[in-house]
């Protein structure tokens, strides 16, 4: 009896959120699939007509020479960003997990790059990377690491590394905070025991920290992956996908197809759906690691 009543109450409390999810996620996801199978153009908004064209949009997208470029850029951008965000974040987390004056204050100051609007970070970096007036080139010149100015944002060879650097900078704080939380959960007695056994700093990291940090590492990497694949603001503001599509990723390309130029909403939707597919694969991997914990809570 009580249980039955509680179930109705639960659904009543859930109803607004459920309705919201259906309307603002369910409908768009379904609509996006439907759009990707139609020829959806600006005209469709006035006439309401969007003829069904089957898989034409997918064929057009896959046959576009930009497709390969966008996939490759997305992969390089994601892998390089995650690798450096994670290693730098981990090093900083280990460094700041030691007790020393101002440790907490300094650590929380480092959160700032993560809290800033991405457009702000993008704008600042765009100015710092400016070929003629940017501080990066001025600094490289000052310390003698480069003789001429590097065309960070105007040379197709430099633009991708440039946006990756910006994205790494943005992602370090997130990795730092979560890994720091994970490190604090490791009992200090384990380190004391390892030290008694004569383990050096590297051995303690290798045999205590690293294995015990595994679950947190998995969460950080998976979330990083899911979020990095769809990075949009940073690239749009720093390079706009250029020069010559050198920084075009699946996300920026999907946006450009739909909104910037051709208004080919059908093709934009097709690229978007491919992105959903990729994100879902990584998402499911993440959920597998989250699932065990959820069960734990439910007991």
């Amino acid at each position: 009896m009580r249980l039955g009543a509680s179930r109705w109450a639960a659904w009543a409390f859930l109803a607004p959120a459920l309705a919201y999810l259906v309307l603002f996620f369910g409908y768009p996801l379904v609509n996006n699939v439907s759009m990707s199978l139609r020829e959806y153009s600006v005209r469709s908004f006035y006439t309401g007509e969007a003829p069904f064209t089957g898989l034409d949009n997918y064929a057009a997208v896959l046959g576009d020479p930009l497709f390969g470029t966008a996939v490759l850029n997305t992969a390089v951008f994601t892998v390089a960003s995650i690798f450096f965000q994670f290693t730098i974040g981990l090093a900083l987390a280990v460094f700041f997990s030691g007790r020393f004056p101002l440790s907490g204050l300094l650590r929380s100051l480092l959160l700032l790059p993560w809290l800033l609007p991405l457009v702000v970070s993008g704008a600042v970096w765009r100015w710092m990377l400016d070929q003629d007036h940017g501080v990066i080139n001025a600094a490289l010149r000052a310390v003698g690491l480069a003789d001429g100015p590097t065309p960070w944002l105007t040379d197709p060879g430099w633009a991708l590394p440039a946006v990756i650097i910006v994205n790494i900078w943005i992602g370090i704080p997130f990795n730092l905070v979560i890994l720091h939380g994970g490190l604090r959960a490791i009992p200090s007695t384990l380190y004391e025991a390892a030290e008694l056994d004569g383990a050096g700093a590297w051995q303690r990291f290798r045999h205590v920290t690293w294995p015990l940090l595994r679950p947190v590492t998995a969460v950080v990497l998976m979330l990083g992956l899911v979020y990095t694949i769809k990075v949009f603001d940073v690239i749009m503001v720093v390079t706009g996908g250029g020069p010559a599509n050198a920084t075009q990723t699946l996300t920026t390309w999907a946006y450009q197809l739909s909104f910037d130029g051709d208004f080919a909403f059908g093709q934009g939707a097709a690229v978007g759906n491919l992105l959903v597919l990729v994100a879902t694969v990584f998402g499911l991997l993440y959920l597998r690691s989250a699932r065990a914990q959820l069960r734990e809570e439910q007991r």
């Binding site: 409390f13 809290l115 457009v119 739909s258």
Partner: protein, 269 residues
């Protein structure tokens, strides 16, 4: 002694990593002309507030638009997320796991997919160029996050508390409004702050769901400002500084909430 060495190293790390922020402030205070010198001025010695004057006169309205959208998003998100989190954390029913999974999954949907579809939906209901449209769109990102953060907190409220009230004859709504909501104040602050920050920083929905005629949030303002051929960089960066204020305030006033939010949204390790 080594402790102080570590502090020194820590300060060095902070200086390096926060240098872009210093540079933003530095450049925003320089006269437009001196930004174009061959070697940059490392300190704003002949500083001027011209950039800020220009930022406020051209971008002031955009700041207000963002403020309105962000405030609206906080209200909508909390109104929808609070009851949901209560049900998911405190009431026993089948489907809790499925719902939480759904929340995790939808957070992974790439933004352009949402923007693409919401554009067609909104153009049908005349929600393009409206505050309501932007609030509803931004809430797609904040509601799932808010539910997860609030739920993570509410799991720690002992069920005995609400069950005792039930035995005393309180209805579910009464339990929710007079026990759960007051006790969850800190978690609400966390979820609200993050909703505000997200909506304030949103660029994708702002650029796709507005035409720039009626409403233009500050992120789009900065974007178009840069795209402008004769980009006035000191004014652009002054605008960037102004747009950073919510984040800076949040970090100073509410930093313990920030850490709670970062970890809560990731479904505690």
């Amino acid at each position: 002694m080594t402790r102080y060495l570590r502090t020194a190293a820590g300060i060095a790390v902070v200086i390096v990593l926060l240098f872009p922020l210093y540079w933003m402030v530095n450049a925003s205070l320089q006269p437009a002309g001196s930004l174009l010198k061959p070697s940059p001025d490392w300190l704003p010695l002949d500083g001027t507030l011209d950039g800020y004057r220009s930022a406020l006169s051209t971008q002031g309205g955009h700041l207000l638009a963002s403020l309105a959208v962000a405030a609206g998003t906080v209200v909508v998100s909390l109104l929808i997320a609070m009851p949901a989190a209560y049900a998911l954390a405190q009431l026993r029913f089948r489907g809790v796991q499925a719902f939480v999974f759904a929340l995790l999954i939808v957070q992974m949907v790439p933004g352009p997919v949402m923007a693409n579809s919401l554009y067609t939906l909104f153009s049908e209901f005349s929600l393009i160029d409206s505050y309501l449209g932007l609030v509803l769109a931004d809430s797609t990102a904040t509601i799932p996050f808010a539910v997860l953060v609030l739920r993570a907190f509410m799991l720690s409220i002992p069920r005995e508390l609400s069950e005792a009230a039930r035995v005393d004859g309180a209805g579910y709504w009464r339990v929710f409004s007079s026990i759960i909501v007051p006790v969850s104040r800190n978690a609400m602050v966390t979820a609200g702050l993050f909703s505000f920050l997200f909506a304030w920083a949103d660029f994708l929905f702002a650029v796709t769901l507005t035409t720039g005629r009626a409403i233009e949030p500050i992120t789009v303002g900065i974007y178009r400002f840069i795209g402008n051929q004769s980009a006035d960089w000191n004014a652009v960066l002054a605008t960037a500084v102004l747009a950073s204020i919510p984040a800076a305030v949040l970090l100073v006033i509410a930093q313990r909430y920030v850490v709670a939010g970062v970890t809560g949204g990731a479904l505690k390790d």
